[in-house]
Symmetry: C2
Subunit: 242 residues, 2 copies
Amino acid sequence: MSKIPVLEIFGPTIQGEGMVVGKKTMFVRTAGCDYSCSWCDSAFTWDGSAKDEIVQMTADDVWKRLQEIGGRRFNHVTISGGNPALLKNLNGLINLLKQNEIEVALETQGSRWQDWFVQIDDLTISPKPPSSNMKTDFDKLDDIIHQLSERNRLKYVSLKVVIFDEADYQYAKGIGERYPQVPLYLQVGNHDVHGEDIENLTSNLLDQYEQLIDRVVQDEQLNDVRVLPQLHTLVWGNKRGV
Amino acid sequence: MSKIPVLEIFGPTIQGEGMVVGKKTMFVRTAGCDYSCSWCDSAFTWDGSAKDEIVQMTADDVWKRLQEIGGRRFNHVTISGGNPALLKNLNGLINLLKQNEIEVALETQGSRWQDWFVQIDDLTISPKPPSSNMKTDFDKLDDIIHQLSERNRLKYVSLKVVIFDEADYQYAKGIGERYPQVPLYLQVGNHDVHGEDIENLTSNLLDQYEQLIDRVVQDEQLNDVRVLPQLHTLVWGNKRGV
Ligand code: SF4
Ligand code: SF4
């Protein structure tokens, strides 16, 4: 049976971001990313710092582990990374979860297509704005959205852009214009992914959230949008595994 | 043309709660409620304290006012109260908004049916738990959910229960069991609807939010659920008109 590089399995907790914000879920975090965003809050998945924690697991191993720690206290699993879309063989795990009546959410930056995208119940595509120092391959992203649309999957898909500065904001507007048929979520960037002073972090994040709201409400070219903070960061700061 | 008792029109801002949390929207708040919840955060809509601010407006008046203050900076309007479901003639406003390609959200406690429920894009039914001191009429609520289901509207509907204490939590579980086909949102109650110390309020709300998450993640009878704070209260405290 083929294996998946897994860095963390934890939960149940709540999803703090995006299209199913607040949803009770388990998390499976895969290792490896084709990007290296300047502000990545999961850099340990690709920068080598946690390479000893990576475990090669079969779909069955992951499902067993999910049940071990989650018991019967979940019906939803979120697969995140890193970029889980690097893993062609993730279909085994997705099938196994669906067979067990588990809903599956997944987040990827939209740099690669996988055929199993059409099985995901809540697919978040999160292209990275200029502040990440990454460059979006729009041919690829166009193709991903086109394929999802052709297969009538857009109701299970959202776009999410993290905003740190004005250039990011303009980038997000471009995404909204380019893919008007896909729900767009704007998320406040966390400037301090290592900060440990949670009260400070919370009040900074809420200030930045308010500023982003102010910007959006004044902008007539950005009406069909949802603006969210990261709830898990407000509650738990930068702690891992919650 | 028939008139609607309106207490506030404001926005654009973001929806801080529930099924379209984060959505850029305008608000229209109608006056009058058939309930008097102990912790009502909009008691001015029914307790007489703002009776001089109530304006009787036609649908045209409301639409004009929305455009005056919102310009072209919105495509979504949220109607809240009080209980807007007291107003049979709200269909005029709803039709006018839809003709202008505006999406319409509405919140009601589920004590009355109106035929125009089937035109609402995001209908939040928020039955009140024991701490409100109100008593849910479950025959009525069953009938509302049944009618929405018959007309194939459940994908536009959610249930939301505000949680202050253990009895409320049990009530919310009962709602989830009774209407498994309707998405359920749990929301942290705001114990201090008059508090003006926003930092204190934020940190209390986040503490209570964390406690509610802890309770939910341990509960195997409450899996299919989303747990949310009130984002507008985190950002703006108890201020009106934001
Ligand atoms: S795509 Fe995601 S996981 Fe990869 S570097 Fe960027 S933020 Fe980190
Ligand atoms: S139903 Fe809503 S508006 Fe009416 S009293 Fe209760 S909380 Fe207030």
